[in-house]
């Protein structure tokens, strides 16, 4: 029964992915603007060679004058072979760009995830245990404030106050690694990379604390009211065991689904943070591609983001179904 459920969910991904690609493709082709004009003159200076027939010639060269469904079909054919085409701006295969940039974003997000979980889960547990007391109320307030801090403000303030010569170079202002980094031995290189990543990861993670801690807290509170807790206490079990072994385990089930909702939020945060800290990741790639109408990259990033999101949702659903025996597989998806 569970197998059919999983298979059904997997099959349902296909139309979702198809729909995503169609939507993004249509959006990216609606406007009458294309990338053939972009390269000539990046710093605001017009190069005198830019005329209409030059633009036309380039457009024909890149196949941008064929009807839309043919363009889509061609593109889809290539994608299924993992060939996302050439980036007009970077003039390299898109797949190479993604191979370079995706790991950076993934690492950033993974580190942020770890920190979020490491901080929020204990905080949520503690807040639930001390419900109504000062810790809980102050904690909620602090978490709410952290959630409301706009990430670009924090990023800019951190750069302004913690980097730069005036502040003794506590942190580097930009980039993923110093320029002499590839000459360093492994551990020093690792340490240098971590030094560069410290601020961005901090910016990316503080926003998630509130959300997760709140979920843990309300899950715990729900469970703390249940009868079995009273039974466990009556049996004479120490409080730690009651909380950690019984209540906590039952309340982490919603955390699984939360992972899937945190992923898209991370992506948004990624774009801004990678822009502020000049980190060459997927977020920055997407932003530049959209600014420069680099169609192939836009499509590739949208597809990959959509795929990752769908897979995340699917995994969360399946994990939820496995973890919580109360869920029946007959329920309509």
């Amino acid at each position: 029964m569970m197998k059919t459920y999983i298979i059904r969910r997997l099959l349902l991904i296909a139309p979702t992915l198809f729909g995503i690609t169609v939507i993004v493709f249509l959006i990216s082709r609606i406007a009458p603007r294309d990338p053939t004009n972009l390269s000539l003159g990046g710093s605001g200076q017009i190069d005198a060679e830019l005329t209409a027939d030059v633009a036309d010639a380039r457009r024909m060269l890149y196949g941008l004058n064929k009807p839309i469904h043919i363009q889509y079909a061609e593109w889809l054919g290539h994608v299924l072979r993992l060939d996302f085409g050439y980036s007009v701006k970077h003039h390299r295969p898109v797949i190479e760009l993604i191979k370079e940039r995706l790991p950076v974003t993934l690492i950033l997000n993974l580190m942020a995830f770890t920190i979020i979980y490491a901080v929020s889960v204990p905080a949520g547990v503690l807040m639930a245990v001390r419900h109504g007391r000062l810790f809980d109320r102050a904690g909620s307030l602090i978490l709410m404030m952290l959630w409301s801090l706009p990430v670009m403000w924090v990023g800019q303030m951190l750069i302004g106050y913690f980097t730069g010569p005036a502040f003794k170079d506590w942190f580097p202002p930009a980039g993923l690694s110093s320029s002499f980094a590839d000459q360093l031995p492994f551990f020093a290189w690792l340490s240098d990379s971590l030094w560069h990543l410290a601020l961005p990861v901090l910016c990316l993670s503080y926003g998630g604390f509130a959300y997760l801690a709140n979920q843990v807290r309300s899950g715990m509170l729900d469970n703390l009211r249940m009868d079995y807790v009273r039974t466990a206490r009556a049996k004479g079990l120490p409080e730690t065991v009651v909380i950690l072994r019984h209540v906590f385990r039952n309340s982490i089930i919603p955390l699984i689904t939360i992972t899937s909702t945190l992923l898209p939020a991370m992506f948004a945060g990624s774009v801004i943070i990678e822009r502020i800290f000049s980190i060459p990741g997927m977020g920055l790639l997407a932003f530049e591609a959209v600014s420069n109408r680099d169609y192939n990259v836009v499509m590739a990033v949208a597809t990959i983001a959509g795929v990752l999101n769908s897979i995340g949702l699917l995994l969360a659903d399946i994990a939820y179904a496995i973890a919580d025996p109360r869920i029946s597989f007959e329920v309509a998806v």
Partner: protein, 400 residues
């Protein structure tokens, strides 16, 4: 069917009143509410607080009122919306005191629709009848040169499009309380006018997303079965694309103006509302009162929106407050990234992005103040939403 009757003692307290009393029990909620009210006031009255034209000035013996003469169409629309909104709130509080319980729902619908129509028609009328005007006179120079006298200026006597390159990049000082930006425009003035932009983006975007989400969710939840199945696939499709990326994609291809941004944010964030409403409708459609309404022969939209929806609206309201803070944040983020409405519009995010000059100088007053404005506004709405959610949830009483 509204009857003005003295409040009967057997009416009891309405659900709204219960929620309100629970809400104001916490002083934090009240502070947030007051802050938002002040912000709304500042946004509506922005041209009266920060303007380069004086309220009144005497030139050659005659009194002129440049500020009032210089009000634009947008200002009048905002005044109208603010006034009507305020009136609606008053009506809301009067409803529970003056009307019988079973007519309150209908009365509320009627008030909402009348007020919305007033706003829409009023705005249309304003746009048709009032022409845009431009007043380039330098009133301060007139006063200084002695040609004019008896001038009363606004508390912040600068306009938000005013430039003065002689005093660009100045930190806070006596003339410019919060400093100036890269062309010499006063930061405090731009903050005040920027509140209009942020709040209007918040309200309009959330309005659009709520309406779309409610309608879609209602249909999906009510009909269930195949309609629900395919509809949810569609919703999942839209949900699967990271919203922010979808927004910047759409912004990249459509012309940049403020309305465009509002609409795009609204159109990309309706899925959460749709899911919530669908869940509520799935639960509620089997209830007795729905069967009763159907058996009475009431038309479908009546059943959906006047019977089921009022019972399922509470999560949408909570989501709306979080949505407003989210929309404000997204607009600031977009302006920060350069996808906003343009450098002439005083958006908070755009001011924030100029906080680090191109040469790397950290201009703390351009980072601190707009950032603080965004932070406090978003925080207020978030706490409002949190407080509302706690007040609406009967399980979260103080005693565990």
């Amino acid at each position: 069917m509204k009857r003005l009757v003295e409040q009967g003692s057997d009416w009891g307290i309405s659900f709204g009143q219960i929620v309100w009393r629970r809400f104001v029990k916490s002083w934090l909620n009240v502070v947030c509410l007051v802050f938002i009210a002040i912000l709304l006031l500042v946004a509506v009255l922005a041209p009266f607080l920060a303007n380069d034209k004086p309220y009144v000035i005497r030139i050659a013996g005659r009194l002129h009122f440049p500020l009032f003469a210089g009000l634009q169409r947008g200002d009048y629309c905002v005044f109208l919306a603010g006034f009507v909104g305020f009136w609606q709130l008053i009506q809301l509080s009067r409803n529970s005191r003056r009307l019988e319980p079973f007519v309150r729902g209908d009365a509320l619908w009627r008030q909402l629709s009348i007020n919305s129509t007033i706003i829409l028609f009023g705005c249309a009328l304003v746009f048709v009848s009032i022409r845009p005007s431009l007043d380039g006179k330098d009133y301060k120079a007139l006063v200084a040169s002695g040609k004019a006298s008896d001038a009363i200026f606004t508390p912040v006597p600068y306009g938000y499009t005013q430039t003065d390159i002689r005093s660009c990049h100045q930190p806070p000082n006596r003339e410019h309380w919060l400093g100036t930006d890269d062309v010499g425009a006063d930061v405090l003035c731009r903050l005040i006018h920027g509140s209009r932009i942020s709040l209007s983006v918040g309200f309009v975007a959330v309005g659009i997303s709520s309406i779309i989400g409610v309608v879609v969710g209602a249909f999906l939840g009510y009909f269930g079965g195949k309609v629900d199945f395919f509809g949810m696939r569609l919703v999942e499709m839209v949900m699967a694309i990271p919203m922010f990326f979808l927004i910047i994609t759409m912004l990249a291809f459509f012309p940049r103006n403020l309305f465009g941004i509002m609409i795009i944010i609204g159109v990309t964030s309706w899925t959460g509302n749709a899911r919530l409403v669908r869940a509520e409708f799935l639960k509620l459609r089997k209830q007795d009162f729905v069967q009763a309404a159907l058996s009475l022969g009431l038309p479908l939209r009546n059943v959906l929106f006047r019977h089921i929806l009022p019972n399922g609206i509470t999560p949408v309201l909570v989501n709306a407050t979080f949505g407003i803070s989210g929309a404000i944040f997204i607009e600031a983020a977009l302006s920060f990234l350069g996808f906003g409405a343009g450098p002439a519009t005083p958006s908070w995010g755009q001011m924030l992005s100029s906080g680090v000059s191109t040469t790397g100088r950290f201009l703390w007053w351009l980072t601190l103040f707009p950032g603080l404005a965004i932070f406090l506004t978003v925080l207020a709405y978030n706490m409002l939403g949190q407080g509302l959610r706690d007040a609406l949830d009967p399980r979260l009483e103080k005693r565990v």
